[in-house]
Subunit: 152 residues, 2 copies
């Protein structure tokens, strides 16, 4: 290592590593816990977004943006969810290129079962471990990150 670089100081370094490791462990844990419902955290998030949307449906592109995923990835994932009958695709009248991804009754019902369990996992492995102030700080920081990096 040579000149001129502003390295992270030791506190920052430690925090950065903690974030990397903690995130890896947390995601793995949440993923694991969802497996009993046949879902990964990625599938779960898709279902949640749909469940919250008007008429429980969203355009593919919109959904991809909200999750920061490539359209391609979403196409594949929704394809799987559709095969599992958790999601249905319908084509969009007003823009004939468009496709709605819509939560099915079965999808909603599965989410209904999985959600309490999942939320409990988020609490137990994250929220409850932090003071409200610290957790709020996490929110602020990653909000700023999102904001800064912006859309793809």
């Amino acid at each position: 290592m040579t000149t001129g670089t502003r390295w992270l100081d030791s506190e920052q370094q430690v925090a950065w590593r903690a974030y990397l490791l903690g995130t890896a462990r947390l995601m793995a844990k949440l993923d694991d816990d969802l497996r009993q419902f046949g879902l990964g955290i990625n599938d779960y998030e898709i279902l949640v977004r749909l469940s919250e949307a008007p008429e429980r449906r969203l355009r593919m592109a919109e959904l991809a943006d909200r999750l920061h995923q490539s359209r391609s990835r979403l196409t594949h994932t929704v394809g799987r969810l559709e095969a599992a009958e958790l999601v249905r695709r319908t084509s969009c009248k007003s823009d004939k290129r468009g496709v709605w991804a819509e939560l099915t009754e079965a999808g909603f019902s599965l989410l209904d079962h999985a959600a309490p369990y999942h939320v409990e996992g988020v609490r137990e492995n994250l929220v409850n471990l932090a003071s409200p102030e610290d957790f709020a700080a996490v929110g602020r920081v990653f909000d700023a990150v999102s904001e800064h990096i912006g859309q793809r």
Copy 2:
């Protein structure tokens, strides 16, 4: 959604989502930035851990633990890094099951070039966006998460 579940309150909800989206965007960005060196963030972290270890080498299992990866995944990744001559495998004398992953000169040199650039990315897209207090809070929170979830 029915009864008895302690949902996240709206603040917590917002913070949780910000974390998910922010992390997705941040990782994608850092990954992108490293691509010019032919590395992903995962490869990068492996090289860093090796570079810091005594004799610039670590046992596979130890490395996997530090990164919270499955051994299988690490085997594959190190296989690729070895093909790229950034890492070398040598077998362990004292435990004949064991394998050392060791950073090559080329690996060290690549890291040397990539690191300043990467660190700058971490600063610009994360560290500089947060107050020192907030960033410290992130460290505390994810340290607690790591601690709580523990080894796989």
